[in-house]
Symmetry: C2
């Protein structure tokens, strides 16, 4: 018997279950796998032998369809950082024990670059010890910061949420005829891709965010205040989009004055409050009405406004990773290669996971305007196809249907 | 010639343009009105003779359809408080001058209780001075706090956004297996209707918000911390919904420590930060992971998740107000009378605007549980029909189409 284990890790997205469904569809189409198990809470479920029987839990096509559009990791997630096997072989042995106990030959891990680090380390361990397992990664991250893939599953849906929300906020903030600044804080510690999506609100002729500051470029308080003043001279309602991770030229986070200083298990600093810091700055320096808005958890969980392009690609990436595994590949991640923008065409490829793990793909400086307060046409051309299409989400009693595995 | 003037006022909603469309449809169906003007920025447009020709600007059915689903006041809004005519007759005379100049006989004002105060004062002025104008109100407010109407246009859509968002956040916060508290702050200074909608996330079997605190009931920090601890004993991910306007037993706002202290033109205190204050409290008293989320402007502008029930009722209320005006009514507001919950049936009525102006309808104490941390079945039965139905919103280039009048 050749069974398969699948798990999800890292921060939630609205497309991560579509990738899981892609794996399940691959299994059903291939006939090469008997049982599919899901590890609860990512790699922790593999370590602790905490598995769900997905053949039992997701039986019919309707369940697969609903799961596709259910946000956040249906199998749960974790932020467990694997040590090198030479430092902590015990953990690796526990995983292999789980594999052996359940006749698992294939393992697919859906996640971001921390998860790809796990795939990398685990496949290296298997290789060094001549263990015959096929360990594959499937990408996921709203941040869109994975190396070797044109873009990341979950990003297009978050971008569609941001573009839609900014276009709605534009209507909202322009009803009064008095000067007012609204500062929208968007996720992104080191990569400004999501913030750039604020420009997409312009696709139908709106102004979208009037000023856009990505975390890749040094942020300057004085230049920001001048930009806002210049824009207020043109129109009363000014909409600003900023990355949560904007920093000044010394590398200090703008949010630092309101940050809690806490760090997560990977040592990432917990950042919140750049918009609030700038709200205070505008109040002090300009004195007009000003409001900070955080898109917070909504931007990564708003499945009701998911991009169908994103969902379908996420599903294909799950299938691609699965097909790789059953064809004898290991230590690879499924990825997207863009062939053209217009018409939008992509192909699905496999890339070495070692070149994805622990890398971050940030926005090229050339895609930010020289003034540092907007994005270029290249960025728009890159982003536009990713938000296309609306999903076939079903509603029940007025809210979207969801499928829960536990 | 008998022309009509229509205007919108107060805070934006996603249904306020549906009511405008209802007026325009009424005009087209009646044949009793020649020209329709829209006053820019509410009553200020009438005072300053700043009008838009809506016969020109909204010509075809497609424009009407797109405008129906466009969020926020397409005519702009204001927060202008009319003084009594005995104190400031000049303003009233300017409005009458505008009426005369454009042969306006009917005026329909779409707004909340401050706008109904304007309708009340202006119609009283016309009556006292024997001026033959028909001044009617059409309701609007996400807060759902207008007197004499079962519920308010805009509320059902905001409630659908909140129910959907809470159900998505429930998925998001439950992926990790560690204790974490998420506190969602929802609009409502004095009326907790919107916060109650957090319970609607339960309609399909979810837990929705685990704890719900409305601003009608005194908020007690110690009881809150005990409630959260009790809930954490049952499950790791605890979701809390609070009204922005929660106050302690002395009437002091929980948010006061982070409030800017600013007030708007109506003397309403600007409140923001109750969730942030409680976030700090949980960090201090419990010490677990905790996050504040504000639904902020999104809850009143998220047209992409509008309730079709709300949009259609909002449209009917515009028609009802228009029909009243051309049938010789004045000083009335169109309103909804609920006939039954299941099946959901309503009728549209006219009510005296003087009994709406300057009143606030808060949540009955009997619809909050005795513990003060949830809502009752009566509240659920009241809310459930209001979020039903999805709109026929059109998308273009991946984001919702909008119709702009200027």
């Amino acid at each position: 018997m050749n069974n398969l284990l699948v798990a999800q890790s890292g921060g939630p997205t609205v497309a991560i279950n579509a990738t899981l469904v892609g794996v399940l569809q691959g299994v059903r189409a291939s006939g090469k796998v008997d049982k599919v198990f899901g590890a609860k809470n990512g790699i922790e479920g593999a370590i602790n032998d905490n598995l769900l029987d997905l053949n039992e839990l997701v039986r019919d096509t309707q369940a697969l369809d609903t799961l596709t559009y259910t946000p956040s990791s249906a199998l749960g997630s974790c932020r467990f950082k694997m040590k090198d096997w030479r430092e902590d072989e015990e953990t690796y042995k526990k995983i292999i024990d789980t594999f052996k106990k359940h006749d698992i030959k294939y393992f697919i891990y859906i996640g971001g670059n921390d998860s790809m680090d796990t795939v990398d380390k685990l496949s290296e361990y298997c290789k060094v010890n001549n263990l015959d397992y096929y360990i594959m990664g499937a990408p996921k991250t709203v941040d869109n910061d994975l190396n070797l893939t044109d873009h990341c599953p979950g990003f297009g849906s978050a971008a569609k949420y941001i573009a839609t929300t900014i276009s709605e906020l534009e209507r909202d903030i322009n009803v009064y005829d008095v000067p007012a600044v609204t500062i929208v804080e968007i996720m992104g510690r080191n990569a400004g891709w999501l913030t750039a999506a604020a420009a997409l609100a312009r696709v139908n002729g709106g102004s979208g965010a009037d000023l856009i500051y990505l975390c890749e470029k040094d942020f300057d308080n004085d230049r920001f205040i001048q930009d806002v003043k210049d824009m207020l001279a043109k129109k009363p309602g000014v909409l600003v989009a900023i990355s949560e991770g904007i920093k000044d030229s010394t590398g200090a986070y703008v949010s630092d004055q309101t940050s809690s200083g806490a760090v997560d298990n990977f040592g990432h600093k917990y950042i919140a409050g750049a918009a609030r810091a700038l709200e205070q700055l505008v109040r002090d320096k300009i004195g007009c009405k000003v409001r900070a808005v955080e898109l917070n958890l909504m931007q990564r969980s708003a499945a009701h406004i998911a991009s169908e392009t994103d969902i379908m690609e996420s599903l294909m990436l799950g299938q691609k990773a699965f097909n790789g595994a059953v064809n004898g590949e290991t230590a690879k991640m499924s990825a997207i290669k863009r062939l053209s923008n217009d018409p939008y065409r992509v192909e699905f490829i496999l890339v070495p996971v070692s070149e994805v793990a622990n890398h971050e793909k940030v926005v090229p400086m050339g895609w930010i305007t020289p003034e540092g307060n907007d994005v270029t046409d290249e960025m728009m051309a890159y982003l536009k196809p990713l938000i296309l299409g609306e999903t076939n989400l079903k509603y029940e009693n007025g809210i979207p249907k969801q499928y829960r595995l536990y």
